[in-house]
Structures are given as structure tokens and as C-alpha cells.
């Protein structure tokens, strides 16, 4: 792994060639906002556009997303210029009009100095709950869980995560990874006694043989046993009681 140096906000910093700007910035305590990127998920990022920064290279400047911009020799990054702030503010205002109920977005808007969006807030048929359509849930389900129960459906303004035909998915294992990964807490997951409801389907939860707590969907145990060959006995106890 080739180590190289580059400049971020005037500071010379070391990085691995082709590592993304956002990871290195965070390691160095430089704050860049961003919602759709998760370093654990290879194909995440690039969609919310909140992590835009100025990239100066070979005498040219462009705005790039820090979450997937590869660091190479001679790169200089500026994270806090007036251009960056202006475009980021514009994006936050658009998101605020889309999901006015999202606390995460409201907080970002307050930071950027936006009280109210200048656009009509989405409501009624157009209501997106808190979903910013960033697609992270989809990537988690595909890459991390390996199930692909959900996908990004439709296109343009109608783009939305969902199951085929909006029916309860036959392949979903109820693990809830999508809900945990969601940056705006937009995926409803209800745990009620020994059942869990997510994506319109109810899952029976497995109870810990020691403390009696429902802690994992039976379907998820089946999936893990099937794909990894792990002994089913392992799941008798919850992580706390193991």
C-alpha cells in the first residue's frame, strides 16, 4: 500500500493512495458532513452530496464528494470555502423541503443557517417520512447482509427504497441492518414482544434461553446457519448471556 502526502485545509497529511478524502479527514479531526457514506460499506456514498469539498489538482479546481474521491499525489483539498458552503447549504435546503420531519436534517439546516426551506414542504402523497433516498439501506442489505430483500425502485423524484411490488419480502430475514444503518432513521422497525415488524412483514423473534429476552429473528438464525454453517445451538443465548 503506497503512502502519499496531500494537503487538506492547509495541513499536510499522510494517506494511502486511492484512499477516500472523507476517511482521512475524519482520522485527522476535520469535520465534513455526510449521510450516505459508511466506511464499512464498499459501494456506499456519492449520493447525498453533503460532503462536497474543493479538490485542487493539476491547476484545476472541482467540487468533489469527499466520500469517494481518491487521494493521489499533488492533491489539495479545501473543506470550508465559500463555494463549498454555498452549494452545501443549497443541498441541505432541498433535503429539508423533502423531509421536514427529520431531526438529522433539521440539525444540519440549523448549522447552515436555514430556518425554513423556500420550497413547499413535501406532504400528503409526496410525503417521504424521513427518507432522503440515499440508498445506504440497499447497499447494506446487499453487501453486508447478502440478502438483497430491498432495492432502489423507480427513478428521479420517485426513487425510493422498497421491496418488489411493495409486498412483504420473501427473502428478508428481519435483521434490521437497513434500519440501523439508515442515517436519518427513516426505516420503521417495530419490536413488539416476540415479534418484529419491518418492510411489512412480521418476524418471530428467538428468545434467549437464559434471560428470556427476544433478541434475534428466527429467520436470521436460519440464514446464518444456512450461509455460514454455524451451529444453531450458538443462538440459544443472547450475546449478553453468552
Amino acid at each position: 500500500m503506497e503512502k502519499i502526502k496531500f494537503v487538506i485545509d492547509g495541513k499536510e497529511v499522510e494517506a494511502i493512495r486511492d484512499q477516500c478524502v472523507l476517511d482521512v479527514a475524519r482520522q485527522n479531526g476535520i469535520y465534513i458532513p455526510g449521510l450516505c457514506y459508511n466506511p464499512e460499506v464498499k459501494f456506499s456514498g456519492g449520493s447525498c452530496r453533503l460532503c462536497l469539498v474543493e479538490a485542487h489538482q493539476a491547476g484545476r479546481m472541482s467540487l468533489v464528494t469527499a466520500c469517494n474521491y481518491p487521494i493521489r499525489e499533488g492533491l489539495e483539498i479545501k473543506t470550508d470555502t465559500s463555494l463549498v458552503k454555498r452549494i452545501r447549504k443549497g443541498i441541505i435546503e432541498l433535503l429539508l423541503a423533502r423531509v421536514p420531519d427529520s431531526d438529522v436534517i433539521k440539525e444540519l439546516a440549523a448549522e447552515a443557517g436555514i430556518d425554513e426551506p423556500r420550497f413547499v414542504k413535501d406532504e400528503g402523497e409526496n410525503y417521504h417520512s424521513k427518507c432522503i433516498a440515499c440508498g445506504l439501506c440497499i447497499q447494506v442489505c446487499e453487501e453486508v447482509v447478502g440478502v438483497s430483500a430491498i432495492a432502489m425502485l423507480n427513478r428521479g423524484p420517485d426513487k425510493t427504497p422498497g421491496t418488489p411490488y411493495k409486498k412483504p419480502s420473501e427473502v428478508c430475514i428481519g435483521c434490521g441492518a437497513c434500519a440501523y444503518a439508515c442515517p436519518t432513521d427513516a426505516i420503521p422497525m417495530e419490536d413488539n414482544g416476540d415479534t418484529r415488524k419491518i418492510w411489512g412483514r412480521e418476524f418471530k423473534m428467538h428468545l434467549c434461553s437464559v434471560c428470556g429476552k427476544p433478541y434475534i429473528p428466527e429467520a436470521q438464525i436460519d440464514w446464518i446457519v444456512k450461509t455460514t454453517g454455524k451451529d444453531r445451538v450458538f443462538f440459544d443465548k443472547c450475546p449478553d448471556c453468552r
Binding site: 446487499e142 430483500a149 430491498i150 432495492a151 425502485l153 423507480n154 427513478r155 421491496t163 418488489p164 411490488y165
Partner: protein, 152 residues
């Protein structure tokens, strides 16, 4: 609607089992059944081992596909720039009034499906309406209604 699953298999097994074949297979579904049936997506998913959600996402992304059966005749009103300037919006509205459907919909008797399309590339004929395979150039709110009568 029941779908001949044998037809589905004929199409699916006619292709190399590679992701590159997904789009052409869906196109064949569309042509064979006038839509992409749920059974077809499920079967394709099973045979190819590609998640159903992924195939379904493709069917919702590309405009060539419909998830509901189409009418016997498809009316495509070109919405290209030249057609727009020369009055295509009037033509669409006239068809909407006549058939009482909006673009993307099918008449109750399944005689017609109405679509607006981006540009069929025959700008010299603007405004153009394509009904099935027939191109009607110089369409107006007036003559298009007469032309619809040729299709039963």
C-alpha cells in the same frame, strides 16, 4: 392474469446465463406479454440466481417496461423538442379527451395504451404520433382522432 410459464422459460433459457442477459430478457417479456409479469421476474430470479429485488428495480427504472398489461395498440406521442414546439401538447390533450385516459394508462376495453415518448427521431414529421408501427406526421388535435379509428 395467468401467464404461460413455458413461454417465460423459453425466453429465459434462450439466453446465456449472465447478467448482461437480464435487460434483453425483460425486453422479450415486454414484447411477449405486453408487460413484465411478476411470475416472469420470480422465475428469472430463480434461474439466474439474481435477487428478485434487483430485477424488479430494473423493471421500474427503464421506461421500456410496464408492470401492468398494455392495450392492444400503443399510441406513442412524441414529445421531442420539435414536436413540442409544433403543438404536441395539443395532440396529447386531444387523445386524452377522446380516450379518457392519461399518458401511462390503458383504456378499460384495453384497446389503447397512451404513452408520451421523448423523441422518436423523425423531427421532420413533427408533431409525430406513432401508433403501433405506423408513423403519423403532421398530427393535429383534429386528424389524430380520425387516425385512431383505424385501430380496433
Amino acid at each position: 392474469m395467468a401467464i404461460d410459464i413455458q413461454k417465460v422459460d423459453e425466453i429465459v433459457f434462450g439466453y446465456e446465463q449472465s447478467k448482461e442477459s437480464l435487460l434483453p430478457i425483460l425486453q422479450d417479456f415486454q414484447r411477449e406479454f405486453s408487460y413484465v409479469p411478476e411470475e416472469g421476474i420470480k422465475r428469472l430470479s430463480d434461474i439466474f440466481g439474481v435477487p428478485e429485488s434487483r430485477i424488479y428495480a430494473m423493471a421500474t427504472f427503464y421506461k421500456a417496461f410496464s408492470l401492468v398489461p398494455k392495450g392492444r395498440h400503443t399510441i406513442k406521442v412524441c414529445m421531442g423538442t420539435a414536436c413540442h414546439l409544433k403543438g404536441a401538447p395539443f395532440v396529447v390533450e386531444a387523445i386524452e379527451r377522446e380516450l379518457k385516459i392519461k399518458p401511462g394508462q390503458t383504456t378499460e376495453d384495453r384497446r389503447f395504451s397512451l404513452e408520451t415518448v421523448n423523441c422518436v427521431g423523425t423531427c421532420a414529421l413533427a408533431p409525430v404520433v406513432v401508433i403501433d408501427e405506423d408513423y403519423y406526421g403532421g398530427s393535429t388535435s383534429e386528424n389524430i382522432i380520425k387516425n385512431l379509428k383505424r385501430y380496433t
